[in-house]
Symmetry: C2
Subunit: 184 residues, 2 copies
């Protein structure tokens, strides 16, 4: 029914839409400057019609070599990837590329903040988890489980409740994890 459709529409924003809306909110309030990177595309053929805009007529999607989001917050470099799963008790890591993981390692080595935002869409749970928890799963020779348990994510990360604006106030979790010294 239309009723059901409307209700679904209300809560059914994708994680990417939630993050983009939050980033716009942060930018407008002067709280952070964080953007989604454009989708990388290999352009093969472009047509230049007279008196109108150039049309890309052949192009292919390229694998991203970095994470999707980055920017600056309180002087610190922020870098993260966001992913959703329909699983209910663990997050499969096959959607992360090795080069995204290496990128986040390199960012942390350089003194930046790197994390992932993971959403379990069927149970409406979203978490921010420091990227370092993923690194062991991608070490060469690793033979174990290819997913992180929800229980581990919940205990090592921070839950991100949904709100109206910003839709996911993930900087609150960033404050707690990276800007507060233990015991203070």
């Amino acid at each position: 029914s239309p009723q059901t459709k409307t209700e679904y529409g209300k809560r059914g924003m994708t994680l990417e839409e939630d993050i983009n809306q939050s980033n716009e909110f942060y930018l407008a309030k002067g709280l952070a400057v964080i953007h989604k990177k454009p989708t990388p595309v290999q352009i093969v053929s472009v047509h230049y019609p007279k008196r109108s805009a150039a049309v890309i007529q052949e192009a292919y999607f390229k694998t991203a070599s970095t994470t999707d989001y980055n920017g600056v917050y309180k002087g610190r470099h922020i870098d993260f990837e966001a992913k959703e799963t329909k699983n209910k008790s663990s997050f499969p890591l096959k959607n992360f590329h090795v080069h995204q993981i290496s990128h986040m390692e390199a960012v942390q080595k350089q003194g930046g903040i790197a994390f992932v935002i993971l959403r379990f869409s069927l149970i409406d749970e979203t978490f921010l988890l420091d990227a370092s928890y993923l690194f062991p799963y991608f070490k060469s020779g690793y033979k174990g489980r290819k997913s992180i348990l929800l229980s581990e994510i919940a205990s090592c990360g921070m839950a991100l409740p949904l709100s109206l604006s910003p839709r996911i106030h993930y900087l609150k979790a960033v404050d707690a994890l990276y800007f507060t010294s233990i015991g203070s």
Copy 2:
């Protein structure tokens, strides 16, 4: 002659190619993690052939809302735009968009480092200039000159000599401008 062509090829790298090569060098040496953002494209139509990769069949170039390059260096967020001119004594500012300027202002307010790399290609001179020198030209009501004099760029910025690898060692200028206190 082929001789001339080869020589031209040797020195005729674009600024973007020089910067990309330098960023690869920095990344490989663990000195910095700085990437060029993908060209933003509005995808209109995608064809999904059986047994082969998706083909984008209609897309348009979008105006970038941020700068082309960003990343992290010694814990600091780095953000910059690179542009070339064929002018010889001043750099025209019409190639910068207002939203790129606002972006660099927002980055600096958030504690990030924002600058531009400007190349005078016909006289083989490249400079790094803190973004703040551009801001006055884009203030509403500004009625003055629409280009920055080479002499001002040379005195307020840092010259970036070409070398073999990295082709432009712009982090040296970043060190001098942002990591050294005056008088030390």
